[in-house]
């Protein structure tokens, strides 16, 4: 049993270690993908053979606030030389915050041969593993994707309102100051892109980074995570859960934890998140 398998996750196969990645650098069935918040990181050096999928340039519709469509996703997959049989392994900065976001978007198109490198970029770096500047080039594929399916893992504002009225569980994964709305009232503080501060009524506060071991960026064990979400959010597998943050990026991390590590079968990420809810006219807000 591997160390990751021993942690008691529902789906341990979605996580791989830095050792595993290091031993698969030449594996043609694997495509390693770096996804960061900081646009300078990948070009400054990356895992040998890794390609970059950038959230702003690759995964978003350039005009309207939405993700890319089927054709756009096909173009990304063809560019990085991925086929239906390719296993994509994401890693990135900020404890894999953006890597899990990219992972989540890939699931909207059903590419379930996907994994996260536990510990992300910082663990790879701290272990003194190689980083290179060479940008690899892979033969383009003829990847065919289905239409994006927003029904299973994505929530929209009207669904959130229904969820709220039905008193179903929600998890706000922002910082405590964002949850309470305090941040919007700090002098000269940028307004977080929202007119109102606070949280969606009924949402529990479980900041996303609580799922991470701060010393090495790896995920906490299954028992630790189960205890965290049972105690702080009063949720359990089988619950219908919506998670949100500011724009849906941090909550994709929590979505990943609940869905894959704890085996929740109905978790949706509300990517409109606070930048939408905090600007909506007439919706209830709690502080």
């Amino acid at each position: 049993m591997s160390e990751i398998e021993s942690r008691g996750y529902a789906r341990p196969e979605v996580l791989v270690s830095t050792d595993w990645v290091a031993s698969h650098l030449q594996d043609p069935s694997i495509r390693i993908i770096e996804s960061n918040e900081d646009p300078l990181l990948y070009p400054s050096g990356h895992i040998p053979g890794a390609v970059e999928v950038d959230w702003t340039r690759d995964l978003n519709d350039p005009l309207r606030r939405d993700y890319l469509g089927r054709e756009g996703f096909e173009a990304v997959m063809r560019r990085i030389g991925a086929s239906k049989d390719t296993t994509v392994v994401f890693y990135g900065d900020r404890n894999n915050w953006w890597a899990t976001y990219a992972y989540w978007v890939f699931q909207l198109f059903g590419h379930d041969k996907a994994k996260i490198m536990d510990g992300g970029r910082i663990k790879w770096e701290k272990e003194g593993r190689p980083l290179v500047k060479d940008v690899p080039s892979y033969s383009a594929t003829e990847y065919k994707a289905p239409e994006r399916d927003d029904t299973k893992i994505r929530a929209f504002r009207d669904q959130v309102l229904e969820h709220l009225q039905a008193k179903k569980p929600m998890v706000d994964v922002r910082s405590p100051d964002e949850y309470t709305g305090k941040k919007l009232h700090m002098p000269e503080y940028p307004n977080e892109g929202a007119l109102r501060g606070g949280h969606i009524p009924g949402a529990a506060s479980v900041p996303w980074a609580k799922a991470i071991n701060p010393d090495d960026g790896t995920f906490k064990t299954g028992d630790e995570l189960r205890s965290l979400y049972a105690n702080d959010a009063r949720i359990k597998p089988g619950d219908d859960v919506i998670v949100y943050c500011r724009i849906g990026e941090r909550s994709s991390h929590t979505w990943f934890v609940l869905t894959n590590l704890l085996g929740f079968d109905k978790v949706r990420n509300y990517d409109g998140s606070w930048t939408e809810w905090g600007n909506l006219v007439g919706v209830p807000i709690e502080r």
Binding site: E37, P39, L40, D54, W55, T56, E125, P190, T275
Partner: protein, 149 residues
């Protein structure tokens, strides 16, 4: 209010590099020139009053007054992967140190987009703009004779 001359020069230099990859390499090189605030100015733990609001790379800003009343700007960036924050710190340090305070105070936060382009996440934009905003706010305070940074 005119922008500080060195900042104008820096922005024009960057804008002469239209190729995104080349510009990124230029910014990476700038980040490589980052020097942390010297211990004679500040030591850890840094005071919260020096922390840049909204910057997830945990940037801190410090100042040192020159004899002519202008300021030298110094930075710390606690996130070892905060490479954009380090590049921004080098630009602000080199371009605004010694510049007239009223000009520094007038530097707009969206100068960040002229440096990095528009393809920044909301969080990254806010953090980098927070660095500019804090430097400007300090200069404005000093120009008004309000003392401490």
């Amino acid at each position: 209010m005119a922008a500080p001359e060195k900042l104008t020069d820096t922005l024009e230099t960057l804008e002469m590099v239209p190729d995104r990859n080349e510009r990124i390499q230029l910014l990476i090189d700038l980040a490589g020139r980052f020097e942390e605030v010297p211990p004679r100015i500040a030591r850890r733990p840094f005071g919260e009053e020096h922390r840049v609001p909204a910057c997830e790379s945990e940037a801190f800003v410090f100042t040192e007054e020159r004899p002519d009343g202008t300021l030298d700007f110094h930075f710390a960036v606690e996130n070892p992967q905060g490479i954009s924050a380090k590049a921004m710190a080098v630009i602000l340090r080199d371009a605004l140190s010694g510049a007239p305070l009223d000009e520094v105070a007038a530097v707009p936060q969206d100068v960040v987009y002229r440096v990095f382009g528009r393809e920044l996440s909301m969080g990254k934009s806010m953090g980098l703009m927070g660095m500019v905003g804090m430097v400007s706010a300090i200069a404005k305070q000093r120009a008004g004779g309000n003392g401490a940074s």
